[in-house]
C-alpha cells in the first residue's frame, strides 16, 4: 500500500470507529444497524491487515496520528475522541493483525460507554485491562496517577530510607555473631499435595457466593454493637445502600434477606426502641419511589423472579409503596411486569384504600382502569366513595370497568349510579350496567331492570342489548320475573311488530334460562310462530327446559 493510500485507509478506519462508537450507544446488539456497523468496521481492519501487521494510533489531547500523520483533530471538549482516550492516560492504541471480530465488538462496546452520564466505576484503561485483548494493545502514561504535590514522593522516600547508612561496626558485629549463631532449622517449605490443590479448588468454588449477603450479616451484627444513634444512623444507611445496590443488580433476594432479618430482630428484647425505630424506617424505605423504581426495572427486564419470592418481597412492603407502584404501573413496558405490580397493589391496597384510590385520578386511562380492577379484587366497600367519582371518566373502557366494579361491590349507594348508567349513550356501558345490577342481585336492582325493559323505548334497542337485559333478569328465579317474562312472551302489538317479536324472543330465551318448566305451555304456543326469531328462541328454551341444554 502506498503512503497516501495507507493514510486514507487509516482515516477511514478511524471514522468507522467514531461512527461505531455512536451506533453502539444507540442500538442493541441484535439491531441490524449495530451488526452492519460492526461488520463494516471489521472489514476495514481486515483490508488494512492485508498490507500491514499493525494499526498503531498515537494519541494526543486533541489529535490522533497514524504513522506521524495527523488523521484526527478536534479542539473541542465535546465529542472529542482523542480527548476521550487521552484523559485516562491512553497514549497509544495498537490493533494487531489477527484482530478478532469479537475483540473489536468488545472494544467498541467499551468506547461506546457514556462515562459522563452512566455510573461506571472503571475508566477506559481498566476496562481494556480487564478484557486482556490479545490483538488490541495500548500504551498508558501513568503519570497522572500521582498527585502533583506528591510528584517527588519516590525520590524523597528513597533518599530518606537510605539515609541511615549501615555502620561498619554493626556489620562486623553481625559477621562475628554469625559464627556463633545456631544452624538454620526454622520453617521448612511445606510441600503442597494434591489434596491441598483439591481443597483450594473447593475454596475458590465457595468464593463465588454472594458477598452482599455477608455484608448484610455484618451490618445486622453491628446493630447490636451500636453505641450511639450516629452508629445506628450509619448502619441503616449502609443497609439502605445495600438494598439499592442489590436491586440495581437485579437481585431482590438480598433485600428479602435484609427484611427477613429485620423482622426476626424486631421483637428481640435485647434491642432498644431506637434500634426498632430504625428497623421500621427501613421498612418504609423499601416502599419509596427509589426502591420501587428499581423493582419496576427488574420486573420489566424479564429477570425471572419466583412467585414465592415476589410475594415475600411484597409482604415486606409498607403501604407507602402504593403510590410509587401506581406511578410505575403506567410506565412499565411488559404485561408480565404490570401483572406483578397489580398483584402487589391488591395486597398492599387492602391496607390503604384511600391511597390506592388516588390512582383513580391518574391521567392515564389504563392506569385508572387497572386501579379499578385492583379495587374490585380487594372488594372493600370503602372504595365505592372514590369509584363513584370515576363513573363519568372520559374513557369508555374506564367507565365500563368502574360500573362492573360497582356492581360487584354492591350496596345502596351504587344503585342510582348504575340506574343512570342504563341510560348512557354507549350500548356497551348500558350492557355493563345491567350486568352489574345483575351481579348485585338485589330486589331493587331487579325492579330497575324490569322497569327499564317495560319502558316503551326499550324495544327500540338493538336485539343484542335486549338479549343481555333479558339474560340478566333471568338470574332472579322468582315468580315476579316468571310472570313478567310470560307476559312479555305473550305480548302482541300492532305497530312495530318486528321489534315486538325481538322482545318476545328474548323473553323466551330468558324463560329457558330461568329453568321453570311451568313456562313450557306458553313456549309451545309460540314455537311454531311465523317469526323465525321467536320460533328459534322458543324451541331452544323448550329444549333447555326439557333436556337441560
Amino acid at each position: 500500500m502506498e503512503q497516501p493510500e495507507e493514510i486514507k485507509e487509516a482515516k477511514d478506519i478511524l471514522q468507522s470507529l467514531i461512527k461505531a462508537k455512536k451506533t453502539f450507544r444507540m442500538y442493541p446488539h441484535n439491531n441490524p444497524i449495530y451488526i452492519k456497523t460492526l461488520d463494516e468496521t471489521y472489514e476495514r481492519f481486515k483490508n488494512f491487515f492485508d498490507y500491514k501487521d499493525n494499526f498503531l494510533l498515537k494519541i494526543k489531547q486533541n489529535s490522533i496520528a497514524y504513522d506521524s500523520e495527523q488523521i484526527y483533530y478536534n479542539p473541542e471538549k465535546e465529542d472529542n475522541l482523542a480527548l476521550f482516550f487521552f484523559k485516562d492516560g491512553l497514549r497509544e492504541l495498537i490493533f494487531k493483525n489477527g484482530l478478532l471480530r469479537d475483540e473489536l465488538e468488545e472494544f467498541l462496546k467499551i468506547i461506546a460507554l457514556d462515562f459522563d452520564r452512566e455510573v461506571i466505576d472503571d475508566d477506559i484503561v481498566t476496562l481494556l485491562w480487564e478484557k486482556d485483548f490479545k490483538n488490541i494493545q495500548y500504551v498508558v502514561d501513568e503519570a497522572f496517577l500521582i498527585d502533583i504535590d506528591e510528584d517527588d514522593y519516590a525520590t524523597i522516600a528513597e533518599e530518606k530510607v537510605k539515609e541511615k547508612i549501615t555502620q561498619i561496626d554493626d556489620l562486623m558485629r553481625a559477621y562475628t555473631d554469625g559464627f556463633h549463631e545456631e544452624d538454620v532449622k526454622g520453617v521448612s517449605i511445606v510441600p503442597l499435595t494434591d489434596k491441598d490443590l483439591q481443597l483450594l479448588v473447593h475454596e475458590l468454588e465457595k468464593d463465588t457466593s454472594d458477598k452482599a449477603e455477608k455484608l448484610v450479616a455484618i451490618l445486622f451484627e453491628l446493630i447490636y454493637q451500636a453505641e450511639s444513634k450516629n452508629d445506628l444512623e450509619d448502619i441503616f444507611a449502609f443497609l439502605r445502600d445495600t438494598i439499592n445496590f442489590s436491586m440495581k443488580h437485579g437481585d431482590i433476594y438480598t433485600t428479602i434477606n435484609i427484611m427477613k432479618r429485620a423482622k426476626d430482630i424486631l421483637d428481640d428484647p435485647l434491642l432498644g426502641d431506637d434500634e426498632k425505630k430504625y428497623i421500621r424506617m427501613l421498612y418504609s424505605y423499601l416502599g419509596t419511589e427509589e426502591v420501587i423504581s428499581l423493582l419496576a426495572e427488574i420486573l420489566d427486564s424479564g429477570i425471572e423472579i419466583e412467585d414465592k419470592f415476589f410475594k415475600e418481597f411484597v409482604g415486606a412492603l409498607d403501604r407507602n409503596a402504593i403510590l410509587p407502584f401506581i406511578k410505575f404501573l403506567g410506565e412499565l413496558k411488559t404485561i408480565r411486569a404490570r401483572k406483578s405490580v397489580i398483584e402487589a397493589l391488591i395486597v398492599l391496597g387492602k391496607r390503604d384504600i384511600q391511597a390506592l384510590s388516588r390512582g383513580l385520578e391518574d391521567n392515564r386511562w389504563y392506569v385508572v382502569r387497572n386501579i379499578i380492577y385492583v379495587l374490585r379484587k380487594i372488594g372493600d366497600k370503602r372504595a365505592i366513595e372514590y369509584l363513584l367519582k370515576t363513573v363519568r371518566h372520559g374513557d369508555i373502557r374506564v367507565r365500563k370497568e368502574v360500573i362492573k366494579t360497582l356492581g360487584e361491590l354492591g350496596g345502596r349507594e351504587v344503585i342510582q349510579t348504575l340506574k343512570d348508567a342504563l341510560s348512557e349513550q354507549d350500548m356497551q356501558v348500558r350492557i355493563t350496567a345491567v350486568k352489574a345490577l345483575g351481579t348485585m342481585g338485589s330486589e331493587v336492582a331487579k325492579k330497575i331492570i324490569i322497569d327499564d325493559i317495560s319502558k316503551k323505548k326499550f324495544k327500540e334497542k338493538d336485539f343484542d342489548e335486549k338479549k343481555e337485559f333479558y339474560e340478566v333478569v333471568s338470574r332472579w328465579k322468582d315468580a315476579e320475573v316468571f310472570n313478567f317474562l310470560i307476559k312479555a312472551l305473550k305480548r302482541k302489538a300492532f305497530f312495530g311488530r318486528s321489534r315486538n317479536f325481538e322482545n318476545r324472543a328474548c323473553a323466551a330465551f330468558s324463560l329457558g334460562l330461568l329453568g321453570n318448566k311451568d313456562a313450557l305451555p306458553a313456549l309451545y304456543k309460540v314455537k311454531d310462530s311465523n317469526n323465525n326469531l321467536l320460533k328459534e328462541f322458543s324451541v331452544a328454551a323448550i329444549r333447555r327446559l326439557e333436556h337441560g341444554h
Binding site: 455510573v119 466505576d121 484503561v125 481498566t126 480487564e130 486482556d132 501513568e142 496517577l145 506528591e150 514522593y153 519516590a154 522516600a157 528513597e158 530518606k160 530510607v161 537510605k162 541511615k164 549501615t166 561498619i168 554493626d170 556489620l171 562486623m172 558485629r173 553481625a174 559477621y175 555473631d177 554469625g178 559464627f179 549463631e181 544452624d183 538454620v184 526454622g186 520453617v187 521448612s188 517449605i189 511445606v190 510441600p191 503442597l192 499435595t193 494434591d194 491441598d196 490443590l197 483450594l200 479448588v201 475454596e203 475458590l204 468454588e205 465457595k206 468464593d207 458477598k211 452482599a212 455477608k214 455484608l215 450479616a217 455484618i218 451484627e221 449502609f238 445502600d241 439499592n244 445496590f245
Partner: protein
C-alpha cells in the same frame, strides 16, 4: 467450561510439561531414535493431542518462574518439581519463551523439535539455532523468551520502584483525603493495583522485594501497599484470575483504612499501648468498614473491601477482634489479607509489639499460628511464596560470607539469590549477587545458607542494599 473440565485441563497441562521434560532429559542422554526417547515422545503426543482436541492450538509459555498453557498458569505438585526445574533451566538456556503446537502434532514434528532443541543447547546463538532447526515444521512454532535482554534488570527495577512508590503515594493521598472529608478517586486505585498485578504476573519477586524494606517513616502507607503486594502474590499462587487479583489488591490496599480514625499519637506511640488505647486500636476494623462504605456508592469491590476491613483481625478461629455474636466463615480475601498483614506487621518496626522480627522468625511464629489464628491451607501457599528465606533475610553462608536474600527461588526455596555484603575475608562489600543453586563440576553447591541473623538487631538498612 465447568470446574471439573477446568481441573482436568489443568491436570493435563501439568502432565504435558512434565512429559516434555522427560523427553528432553532422555534425549540428552540417548539418540533421538532410541526406544526410550521414542516412547517418551509417543506418550507426549498422546497428551498434547488430547489437549489440542479441546483447545485447538496449545501454546506453552515460560513467564518468570512459571509455565502457562494457553494463558492458564500451570500448577504442579511436588513430585514434578525436579522435572519442572529442569525444563525451566533448559528453556532459559536457549532463550526459549514459547512453544506453539498448532493442532494435532505428529511424531516427525516432535523429532524435528527435539533435534533443534538439542542443537540449541550447543550453540552460541541458541534461540536462532532452534528457530532454524524447526523451520521445516508446519505445526510447531517457537518464540523468544521475553525477559532476557541486556540491562533489562536495571530498567525493570526502576519500573518496580516507580510502581511501588506510586502506590504508596496514592495510599497516603487517600488517607489524607478521607481525613479531610474529600472525595477519593477509586478509579485511580484500580489503575495502580492493575500495574502491581501486571508486575507480579510478570515477575513477582521484584515487587515482593520492595516489601522487604521496612524503615520508612510513613509506615501506615507502606504497610497498606506491602499487604496489597503480598496478597496479590499469594492470590497469584492460588491461581486467581487477573480481575480477582485486582479486586484482592484493592481490598488489601484499603484493609487498614479504619486507622485514620486513631489519633497519630496513639498510632505512633513508642511504648506499649494502655488498655484504653488498645480499645481504640481494636475499633479500626469497624471504622474501616464504615470509611469504605462511606467513600462512595456501594459497588462490588467496596462490599468486599468493607468485609475484609472488618474481618482481617478476627482470626481463622475467631479468637481475634471484633467479636461477633454469630461467627460465619471468614471471607477468602480476609484470610489472605490477614496472612499478608501479620507477616508485614511482624517484620516491620512500628507495630504493636514494637519488636521487628527477622522474616524467617516471623514465618516460624506464623507457622505456629497456622490452624488457629491463620488459615493452614493458605499459609502453606504463603510460605511457598515468600520462601523459607524471604527477601531481606540476613544469612551466613558456608563460605564464611554474609549476605542478604535478594531474590527468592520458587523451585528451590532454600537456595535463593544472595547479595554478599561481607566477603569470606571479612571485608565489607556491596555485591556480587550469587545464585545458591550454582554447583561446581562435581555437582556440589558452591554456597549454602548455614545461619540466619536478624538484620534489625544489627541495624542493617535493607534499603541501602535492596533499592
Amino acid at each position: 467450561m465447568d470446574i471439573k473440565e477446568n481441573r482436568e485441563i489443568r491436570k493435563s497441562a501439568q502432565d504435558v510439561i512434565n512429559q516434555l521434560s522427560v523427553i528432553l532429559r532422555t534425549a540428552q542422554i540417548h539418540d533421538p531414535n532410541n526406544i526410550a526417547v521414542t516412547l517418551a515422545i509417543e506418550r507426549f503426543l498422546a497428551l498434547i493431542n488430547q489437549l489440542a482436541e479441546l483447545e485447538q492450538n496449545v501454546k506453552l509459555d515460560l513467564i518468570g518462574e512459571f509455565f502457562y498453557i494457553n494463558d492458564i498458569r500451570v500448577r504442579y505438585s511436588l513430585e514434578y518439581l525436579l522435572n519442572f526445574d529442569f525444563i525451566i533451566r533448559e528453556f532459559r538456556k536457549r532463550e526459549l519463551g514459547s512453544v506453539i503446537f498448532k493442532g494435532s502434532i505428529d511424531f516427525k514434528d516432535m523429532q524435528l523439535f527435539l533435534k533443534a532443541f538439542i542443537a540449541g543447547g550447543f550453540s552460541d546463538e541458541p534461540y536462532e539455532t532452534m528457530l532454524e532447526g524447526i523451520d521445516e515444521s508446519k505445526d510447531i512454532e517457537i518464540d523468544r523468551l521475553k525477559k532476557i535482554r541486556e540491562g533489562a534488570d536495571v530498567d525493570t527495577r526502576k519500573v518496580i520502584k516507580k510502581i511501588y512508590y506510586n502506590a504508596v503515594s496514592y495510599s497516603k493521598g487517600v488517607m489524607n483525603k478521607i481525613k479531610a472529608g474529600e472525595k477519593v478517586n477509586i478509579k485511580k486505585a484500580k489503575r495502580i493495583v492493575e500495574t502491581m498485578v501486571d508486575q507480579i504476573l510478570e515477575e513477582e519477586k521484584l515487587l515482593l522485594g520492595m516489601t522487604a524494606i521496612k524503615d520508612y517513616d510513613e509506615y501506615t502507607y507502606h504497610h497498606s501497599v506491602n499487604v496489597s503486594i503480598l496478597s496479590i502474590a499469594l492470590g497469584q499462587r492460588l491461581g486467581l484470575s487477573k480481575k480477582m487479583l485486582t479486586e484482592l489488591g484493592l481490598v488489601a490496599l484499603f484493609h487498614d483504612i479504619g486507622k485514620i480514625e486513631i489519633p497519630n499519637e496513639v498510632l505512633n506511640k513508642a511504648t506499649n499501648f494502655t488498655d484504653d488505647e488498645w480499645k481504640l486500636i481494636k475499633k479500626h476494623p469497624l471504622w474501616g468498614l464504615k470509611a469504605i462504605l462511606r467513600l462512595k456508592g456501594l459497588e462490588s469491590s467496596s462490599i468486599r473491601s468493607s468485609i475484609v476491613a472488618f474481618e482481617h483481625h478476627m482470626n481463622y478461629d475467631f479468637s481475634g477482634y471484633p467479636k461477633v455474636r454469630k461467627n460465619t466463615e471468614l471471607d477468602l480475601f480476609s484470610r489472605i489479607v490477614s496472612l499478608a498483614d501479620q507477616y508485614d506487621a511482624m517484620t516491620s518496626s512500628r507495630v504493636y509489639s514494637r519488636i521487628p522480627l527477622a522474616p524467617d522468625k516471623a514465618l516460624s511464629i506464623m507457622m505456629e499460628r497456622a490452624g488457629s489464628q491463620l488459615d493452614p491451607l493458605l499459609f502453606k501457599f504463603f510460605v511457598n511464596m515468600v520462601g523459607v528465606f524471604p527477601i531481606g533475610t540476613l544469612v551466613m553462608l558456608d563460605t564464611r560470607e554474609l549476605g542478604l536474600v535478594y531474590e527468592a527461588n520458587v523451585l528451590f526455596a532454600e537456595r535463593p539469590r544472595i547479595l554478599i555484603i561481607i566477603d569470606s575475608k571479612g571485608q565489607r562489600v556491596h555485591g556480587p549477587t550469587v545464585d545458591l543453586t550454582e554447583k561446581d563440576a562435581a555437582g556440589k553447591f558452591y554456597r549454602t545458607i548455614i545461619k540466619t541473623l536478624d538484620p534489625n538487631k544489627y541495624k542493617i538498612n535493607l534499603a541501602e542494599y535492596l533499592l
